[in-house]
C-alpha cells in the first residue's frame, strides 16, 4: 500500500448516470419515475447527447412534465407505444426479472411492507426498453425468487407484450436480460470490482463470461454534460442530490 490516494475522475452517481444514459441512448421519449435522481440524470444526459431528438419526462417535476390530461395520460401514452424507455427499481429483483415493490415475507402479513407496485405492473409490459436500476447490489435485493410479483419478467407467448425488462444496473454491474433464456447475462462489471464479488453478492444465478468486460468509464463528453447542463436542469427537481452527486 503506497498510501497515496487517487482522486476518482468521476463520482459513483456520475458513473451510474452515464451507464444508464447509454442504455437509453436510442430513445425518442424516456420517462423517469418520481424520486429517481440518478435515472433522471441519465435521461437528461442521453437527451443532451442526442442533440434534441430525445424527449425526457420526469415525474414529480414541473420542468420536465409535458402531460396535460392528468395522471392517467402517461399510462395511455405508454399503451399506445409512444414511450420507448422507462426506469424502474424494485425492493426485490429475481433472476427471471420479476420485480417486487409490495413487501418482503408472505403477503399480506409481510415482514416488511413496501409502498406498492405503482405503475410497474403495467408499464413493464408496454414500454419496449425497461431499464431496472437498483443501486444496492446484495443478496437481500437480488433474490432467487421474489416474495411477491408486482410485475412479471416473462410472459407466455399469447400475452400481449410489446415491452419488458432489457437491462439491470447496480452499483457493481450491468446485466442484460435475455427473455428467450429467461436469465440475465453479465454484460460488464464496474471498475474496482470483480467477478467473485459479483457472484458473492448476487442471490440469483446468471450467465457470464469467465473474464467479464469492465464497464467503460465516463468519457469526457458525458462528464462535461453531467456537470453542466444536466446538473443545472436537475437543480430545481433534486437540489440535495445536485449538491452532493456531481464532481467539480
Amino acid at each position: 500500500m503506497s498510501g497515496v490516494q487517487q482522486v476518482p475522475a468521476e463520482t459513483n452517481e456520475e458513473l451510474l448516470a452515464a451507464v444508464l444514459g447509454r442504455l437509453v441512448a436510442d430513445s425518442t421519449h424516456t420517462v423517469v419515475g418520481a424520486n429517481s435522481p440518478i435515472p433522471a440524470s441519465a435521461a437528461l444526459l442521453a437527451a443532451g447527447l442526442s442533440e434534441g431528438n430525445h424527449q425526457v419526462t420526469i415525474l414529480g417535476s414541473r420542468e420536465f412534465m409535458q402531460f396535460t390530461d392528468g395522471g392517467k395520460e402517461l399510462f395511455d401514452y405508454a399503451a399506445q407505444g409512444r414511450m420507448d424507455a422507462f426506469f424502474v427499481g424494485g425492493g426485490q429483483i429475481d433472476g427471471q426479472a420479476n420485480i417486487n415493490l409490495v413487501g418482503v415475507g408472505d403477503y399480506p402479513g409481510t415482514k416488511l411492507r413496501l409502498p406498492g407496485s405503482f405503475g410497474s405492473a403495467y408499464l413493464y409490459h408496454l414500454v419496449p426498453n425497461v431499464v431496472l436500476f437498483r443501486k444496492e447490489h446484495s443478496r437481500r435485493v437480488l433474490v432467487p425468487k421474489v416474495d411477491f410479483i408486482s410485475a412479471a419478467g416473462l410472459s407466455p407467448a399469447n400475452h400481449y407484450r410489446v415491452g419488458g425488462p432489457r437491462w439491470l444496473v447496480t452499483e457493481l454491474v450491468v446485466m442484460k436480460f435475455d427473455a428467450d433464456r429467461g436469465r440475465f447475462y453479465l454484460q460488464s462489471i464496474h471498475a474496482g470490482h470483480d467477478l467473485d464479488e459479483v457472484l458473492d453478492r448476487t442471490g440469483f444465478e446468471f450467465d457470464y463470461d469467465p473474464e467479464p468486460a469492465v464497464t467503460p468509464p465516463v468519457d469526457d463528453q458525458e462528464l462535461a454534460l453531467l456537470r453542466t447542463s444536466v446538473r443545472e436542469s436537475l437543480q430545481p427537481v433534486y437540489p440535495g442530490f445536485c449538491s452532493r452527486a456531481f464532481g467539480q
Partner: protein
C-alpha cells in the same frame, strides 16, 4: 353546491365512506384532513388515486381507516409511510393492492357509468391473484388474447385542494385533471380552494378548459394554504421536506405519532 366552512365541509364525510384522495403531486387537502381527524371518523375505505402519502398515513395512524385501495403509499423522498407500513404488516387494515392505471381505469369506468374497463399489461402479476374483483377474459374481438378487466370505482366522496373556486361552485384545477376524473367518478366532491375567484370560471375560455363544473361539486371551503406542508401545483410551492422527514422519524412508533399530532395541535375525535 354550497360554500361552507372547513368544519362544515368535513362534516359531509361519514364513517364507512369510500373516500378518494389525490396523489401528492396534485392538490392534497391537508387542512381538511386535520379537521377530519378532529371530527373523528372510522372505517374509511381510502382510495388513493392512484397513490398517496402523508394524508393517508395520518388517517391510518389515527385509526380512521379500515381499507386501503392504492397503487402505492409512501412519503416519497422522505421514505416509507410509517403508520401505513405498521398497519399493513400487522394486518390492521385490509389492503386492496393495485397498480396506477388500474385505479385510473376503475375511476374512468365510473365516470362513464359502465361496470368495468379492460386494461393492458399486468398479466402475470400476483396482484391479479389478490384481487377477487379483477377478472381475466379473452378479448372477444381477437381470439387468444387474454385481457384484464377492472371494475368501476365509485367513491362516496372525493376530497382535494384546488387553486380557485368561484361563487357558482365551479373549481379550477388546470392541468391536474386527475382531480376532474375523481370528481366525475364520485357521488360527491368536497374541495378546499386556495382563493375565491371573483366571477364565473366557465365564462372565461382560458379557465373553463381546466374547470370542474359545479354539477360535480358538493361543497367548497376557502382555505388558503390548505395543502401545507405538502407542495402545491397551484402556487408552485414545494413540499416541506424537513416536516416530512421529522414526521417519518416520529411516526415510526404509535407513541411518536401521537406526539406529532400533539405538536401539530391536532386532537383526534372519537
Amino acid at each position: 353546491m354550497s360554500r361552507v366552512t372547513l368544519e362544515q365541509l368535513v362534516s359531509k364525510i361519514s364513517s364507512g365512506d369510500k373516500l378518494a384522495i389525490p396523489p401528492e403531486y396534485s392538490g392534497v387537502a391537508m387542512a381538511a384532513t386535520r379537521a377530519l381527524l378532529t371530527r373523528g371518523v372510522k372505517n374509511l375505505h381510502l382510495i388513493a388515486c392512484p397513490q398517496a402519502g402523508l394524508q393517508a398515513d395520518l388517517l391510518i395512524g389515527a385509526g380512521c381507516v379500515a381499507t386501503v385501495e392504492a397503487a402505492g403509499i409512501s412519503l416519497g423522498e422522505s421514505g416509507l409511510a410509517p403508520r401505513f407500513r405498521d398497519a399493513a404488516q400487522q394486518g390492521k387494515i385490509r389492503m386492496l393492492d393495485a397498480t396506477c392505471p388500474a385505479i385510473q381505469s376503475g375511476l374512468q369506468a365510473a365516470e362513464k357509468g359502465i361496470p368495468f374497463l379492460p386494461i393492458r399489461g399486468i398479466l402475470g402479476s400476483d396482484l391479479i391473484d389478490l384481487r377477487d374483483d379483477w377478472l381475466v377474459i379473452d378479448n372477444p374481438y381477437t381470439e387468444g388474447d387474454p385481457l384484464l378487466l377492472v371494475p368501476a370505482i365509485q367513491p362516496d366522496v372525493s376530497l382535494f385542494h384546488a387553486p380557485l373556486g368561484d361563487d357558482y361552485g365551479n373549481v379550477w384545477v388546470g392541468i391536474r385533471r386527475e382531480l376532474m376524473l375523481m370528481a366525475h367518478a364520485s357521488k360527491s366532491t368536497l374541495v378546499t380552494v386556495e382563493k375565491r375567484y371573483k366571477g364565473d370560471l366557465l365564462a372565461d375560455p382560458v379557465y373553463a378548459a381546466g374547470t370542474i363544473p359545479h354539477m360535480y361539486i358538493t361543497a367548497t371551503a376557502e382555505v388558503a394554504g390548505g395543502m401545507r406542508p405538502l407542495g402545491f401545483f397551484g402556487d408552485g410551492s414545494v413540499t416541506d421536506v424537513e416536516h416530512l422527514a421529522g414526521y417519518e422519524k416520529l411516526a415510526r412508533s404509535q407513541q411518536g405519532f401521537e406526539q406529532y399530532l400533539q405538536e401539530q395541535g391536532i386532537e383526534v375525535g372519537s
